[in-house]
């Protein structure tokens, strides 16, 4: 992720040490000076996100990374950055919570990331990679989406993704969008009127209402243009699993095992958590008999799945927080019990 950011032109990184993501600032501390960029080890998560606020307003591609308790501290700054419509990348390699929790992998920050953990009506574009290659690719795309929409982007990973090792092809950066000129940058008012980056809107009296409406229009546009999802063997699936990130990768294995046992299972894996890819779920709800949400929390992602499914299909749940993670066998067991229950129900009807 760090190298992808460098490749994509990220030239400012500020962060604070927290496990399990220390590999990122460590790498950046060495790499940034090599490419003429800036690395600052901030005195706090709050300072780090505010340095990003300043660096972004000064026109740099910039990022910070942290893990759950640290991201909670950053929420104030994230709200301001979203309000000021500044682009940046924030990575959260989630760990067990609440509180200090532990340093095992978790997906319990879904609400915070997707519904907005700071104050006010704002949205982050939230990306959930399931492999290091995808993390690499999405990191480069994230900077483009951030600039294109002038909106902060969050990569929502977890402790497993944050600390695993697997081969990654280092691809050169190519912009995926035609990016607008950064006409908001504060660089001194030479030859132009002074610019202001601010989030306090007192005048006119309905100015903040108008600004909120403008933000919501932007969010609607993002929702209509950006939605990524992987579907795996869903066409004929009776039981469709919904999972994201590393959990989806494990679930994919369980789907293969179920198929080997003659159970028609499939997988929907949202890659963008916001905007949430509703369409695959709406389609699957029509064809599948049951759905199963698997996540490393006590049920956050499931709420968006249920909203998308809208009662058209029963949705089962498998998940725990606190550092629990599912094995392929645990998921398979759940699929088998669902298949058996379904068979009994069908028999009952006959």
């Amino acid at each position: 992720m760090a190298e992808a950011a460098v490749q994509a032109g990220c030239r400012f990184f500020a962060g604070y040490p927290i496990t399990p993501q220390n590999e990122v600032p460590e790498y950046m501390s060495k790499r940034m000076p090599q490419v003429g960029g800036v690395f600052v080890q901030a005195e706090s998560e709050i300072a780090a996100i505010n340095m990003i606020f300043g660096a972004s307003a000064a026109g740099a591609r910039c990022m910070t990374s942290s893990s759950s308790p640290g991201v909670s501290l950053k929420q104030e700054g994230i709200s301001y950055i979203a309000a000021a419509e500044l682009p940046c990348l924030i990575a959260n390699m989630q760990r067990g919570g609440p509180g200090l929790g532990n340093i095992r992998a978790s997906q319990a920050d879904y609400f915070q990331a997707v519904k907005g953990g700071g104050h006010g009506d704002y949205r982050l574009i939230v990306l959930a990679p399931a492999s290091l290659q995808e993390l690499y690719n999405l990191t480069m795309n994230a900077f483009d989406w951030a600039d294109y929409y002038r909106n902060p982007v969050m990569i929502l990973g977890d402790g497993i993704l944050g600390q695993m090792a697997e081969p990654v092809e280092i691809l050169p950066y190519e912009p995926i969008l035609e990016l607008p000129e950064k006409d908001f940058v504060l660089d001194g008012c030479k030859g132009r009127k002074p610019r202001v980056v601010k989030t306090l809107i007192l005048k006119p009296a309905d100015g903040l209402i108008a600004h909120n409406e403008h933000l919501q229009e932007k969010y609607k546009r993002i929702e209509s243009e950006l939605s990524l999802c992987e579907e795996y063997q869903t066409t004929d699936a009776e039981i469709v699993i919904a999972a994201y990130g590393i959990t989806a990768r494990i679930a994919k294995g369980a789907v293969r095992m179920a198929r080997a046992k003659g159970i028609a299972a499939g997988l929907i894996r949202p890659i963008t958590l916001w905007p949430f890819p509703n369409e695959p779920f709406i389609s699957a709800a029509k064809t599948a008999s049951q759905m199963l949400v698997v996540e490393m929390s006590h049920g956050q992602f499931i709420e968006d799945v249920k909203l998308a499914v809208n009662g058209q299909c029963p949705v089962e749940f498998l998940g725990k927080g606190g550092g629990w993670y599912p094995t392929e066998e645990i998921i398979l067991e759940k699929i088998e019990s669902m298949a058996a229950a379904s068979a009994t129900a069908v028999k009952g009807k006959l």
Binding site: G59, C62, L186, L200
Partner: protein, 244 residues
């Protein structure tokens, strides 16, 4: 002999500050310094949360408005990305010495090449007169109604003294705007703090003791007396660090 008039660094807007408030004087000093150094077109200011939050309405240069207490961190981000620009923060006592103490200390210790204007009026003005970190011992506020120090509030925080132990700091001076002599001295200090940044010398902070007649519930004249008699005793004026 020069004519004393408004500089182009100030907009025409009438400020929202109360009658007799020192912010207006300090705004003018900062504007005059920017004008005299000829740096308006390369200056980026950071507005705090507090009475000076509307700074961007009054200054004719690029301004970023920050979350409460965060200007030194935001300024760090800006200055590191654009080292050739002049970045200043303008902060009150609540912003700089309470909620943003950490940002202040660490930006100072890193020796960030920025200029900090610290307005100390010993009270939370914008929110209606609550106790500030710099409220004097025995001083009344809406949240220290028996006088500071009676219920475990501790003594006032002295920013220049606190920061003077940091090796990363270039220049620290405490000034005031409660007499014409102090105003002239404050301008000299502010000019030096900006010049230090132009010369790449590092973190410079000028503390300015200022009047808040409204929340002190004093007349203009008594507010001036309060700065001259009480505040200057608790917060002695002078140069605390000068490594320039």
């Amino acid at each position: 002999m020069p004519n004393l008039t408004r500089t182009e660094v100030l907009t025409d807007a009438q400020t929202h500050y109360c009658p007799g408030c020192g912010h207006g004087i300090i705004h003018r000093l900062v504007a005059e310094v920017i004008d005299e150094l000829g740096i308006r077109e390369k200056t980026i200011g950071t507005a705090p949360v507090g009475c000076a939050v509307l700074l961007y309405d009054y200054f004719n240069c690029d301004i970023i408005e920050c979350a409460h207490g965060r200007p030194p961190a935001v300024a760090t981000g800006m200055k590191r990305v654009q080292p050739d620009k002049i970045v200043f923060t303008y902060q009150g006592d609540g912003d700089l010495a309470a909620i943003g103490t950490s940002e202040t200390i660490h930006a100072a210790n890193r020796g960030e090449n920025i200029t900090v204007i610290f307005v100390n009026n010993a009270i939370y003005g914008m929110t209606g007169g609550q106790m500030a970190p710099t409220t004097l011992t025995g001083m009344f506020s809406t949240t220290s109604q028996d006088g500071r120090g009676e219920h475990g509030e501790g003594p006032p925080l002295k920013v220049c003294e606190l920061l003077s132990s940091l090796e990363g700091v270039c220049y620290l001076e405490r000034t005031a705007v409660s007499t014409p002599k102090d105003v002239i001295s404050a301008k000299r200090a502010i000019k030096k703090a900006f010049q230090n940044q132009i010369d790449g010398k590092g973190f410079s902070l000028v503390e300015v003791l200022s009047m808040c007649p409204t929340d002190w519930k004093l007349s203009t004249a008594k507010a001036v007396d309060f700065v001259n008699n009480e505040m200057k005793t608790a917060f002695p004026l002078g140069v605390y660090v000068d490594r320039s």
